[in-house]
């Protein structure tokens, strides 16, 4: 019986997290269009509902009712499989992120605001992310279109290259925390006012920077959006996709942005830690999603600001700069872990939870 209630809880948690993330993704798209409009000196969509607030709904209806065109000479099975892989891989990582600390609910007692807490959560995230490459690569291959194939190949090459830098950048944090469990990593980052313990301030600023760059490349966003460079490849791997299948790729891209931001928040920016969280645990949710929204804004800002890399620049930047820098970061962190001064300062910053808050 206990198992059954637990399963019901997990299912409820997944449903809630799914709807929250979906809603936020939908409004990220709207925010992106409005903010890009602002950056480029135009209005952006503002007609559907007040300030364009119902635009995501209108987009969804349009996607569902558009004609679904399947190219004649496509490899049908793979063509249908690709968007499924992309979306599933994007959504599967949501379950491991700790959204908030232990909170007290009126009837149900105290619960942790995390759906699944297990030993290898971080590795799980990396594994699922690495499977996501197939969605894009297979989409490009199965469409039987040279632009799609080029887009798919580019994206596979890019994601393999930057996954390495991404994974290496995370090792610094793992070395420092001594665990792969995301909830414990967040708990360790509580310091004075819930701020001083954040990993980004303490030894990991380089790791944070490398992670951020690699994450932007991993999600195929500007300035690393070569897989879908309009000027060269029409639309890259999803050239031949229309209607809801295109929408699934679109969704996967934004969900990936979201999960990558959640991982950055969890590992580097202290997750739900912030001032006064230990007195009012529900504040944690606001801090967590606030930090995620900051990252999403950064994504949009970059898109409005930066031009695109060339493919050889992308490759040499990834392999000749990011990967060595990540290795330096690992050696640095490992060396500092040994020094007694590090230990002292680390204890001072991290363990005195709630000095003033």
């Amino acid at each position: 019986m206990e198992d059954l209630t637990h399963a019901a809880w997990v299912l409820a948690g997944i449903l809630i997290a799914f709807f929250v993330v979906m809603t936020m993704v939908a409004y990220t798209v709207l925010a992106e269009r409005r903010i890009l409009g602002f950056i480029q000196g135009r209005l952006g969509p503002n007609r559907v509902g007040p300030q364009g607030f119902l635009q995501p709904l209108a987009d969804l209806i349009k996607f569902i009712f558009k004609e679904d065109i399947v190219p004649d000479k496509s490899t049908r099975f793979v063509y249908f499989l690709a968007p499924v892989i992309a979306t599933t891989a994007a959504l599967m990582t949501i379950v491991v992120y700790p959204f908030g600390p232990e909170v007290r609910l009126p009837i149900l007692g105290s619960i942790h605001l995390v759906i699944a807490r297990f030993d290898v959560a971080l590795l799980y995230v990396l594994g699922i992310t690495s499977v996501g490459v197939y969605g894009v690569a297979l989409a490009g291959w199965s469409s039987n279109n040279k632009y799609s194939l080029m887009g798919g190949l580019r994206s596979a090459a890019q994601m393999i290259s930057y996954e390495l830098a991404l994974g290496l950048a995370l090792i610094g944090v793992i070395l420092q925390s001594g665990t792969l469990d995301l909830y414990s990593i967040v708990e360790q980052q509580a310091g004075h006012l819930g701020i001083s313990g954040w990993n980004v301030f303490w030894v990991q600023p380089l790791g944070f920077l490398i992670y951020l760059i690699a994450a932007i490349a991993e999600t195929n966003r500007v300035p690393f959006d070569l897989p879908e460079a309009e000027t060269e490849l029409v639309a890259g791997f999803h050239t031949e996709y229309s209607a809801m299948k295109f929408a699934l790729f679109f969704l996967a891209e934004y969900v990936n942005m979201f999960t990558v931001s959640m991982l950055a928040t969890t590992l580097f920016l202290g997750g739900w830690n912030g001032p006064f969280v230990n007195r009012a645990p529900w504040l944690g949710l606001f801090y967590f999603f606030g930090k995620v929204i900051l990252f999403l804004f950064l994504y949009i800002w970059l898109r409005g600001t930066l031009p695109r890399f060339r493919f050889d620049q992308l490759m040499s930047f990834g392999w000749k700069f990011l990967v060595p820098a990540a290795i330096v970061n690992i050696v640095l962190t490992a060396t500092l872990q040994w020094s007694p001064v590090f230990d002292f300062v680390s204890k001072f910053l991290k363990t005195s939870v709630g000095w003033w808050g």
Binding site: D3, L123, V131, I160
Partner: protein, 196 residues
Amino acid sequence: MHRERRKVLVVLFILFAGLAVGCAISMVAQRNPLYGAISLIGVFISLACLYVTLAAPFIAAVQVIIYAGAIMVLVVFVIMLLNVEEEERRPMRMRSLIPIAVGLAAILFAEAAFIIFFVQASPATPTRNISDVGLTSSIGAGLFTHYLLPFEITSILLLMAIVGAMTLARRGGLLPAGAGDRGSSRTVKEDAEKSL
């Protein structure tokens, strides 16, 4: 309650084991190399799920990251890049080998059956607490203390493979200078660079 959990585990085992075997058969039977590769990815992922049910989450995660995420991506990449055609059905040669193959398969199955039905020597209850064995920390501690030498030897082996691959792939590395530049002997790498 314990029995319920056991039942769930059995159902999961049948599900993922069936999936793994099905994908494996499909991998051998497919004539399109990309379908074969996709089936192999299916095998790896179902195996990872089996590891999770066996309380070895670390091995499951590593299985997905390395096999499904890295090695198979490269395989798929090469298949896409070279645009490998579907295998043609060729007339079968060396028919004399068929009885030998059948005999070997029979021996293999007999062995499996022997182990399943007659070997009862394994203890009914595991001697150590299972839940610790698959944990990341216990695996790490084991690798860097008790199994340090095999671990280092493996890493040297991998390093040798990397250096070897780089030497072979490097233009004009082992070959005399200019050997790679002639039009007829274009390498896969050059093709890849051109098409990207």
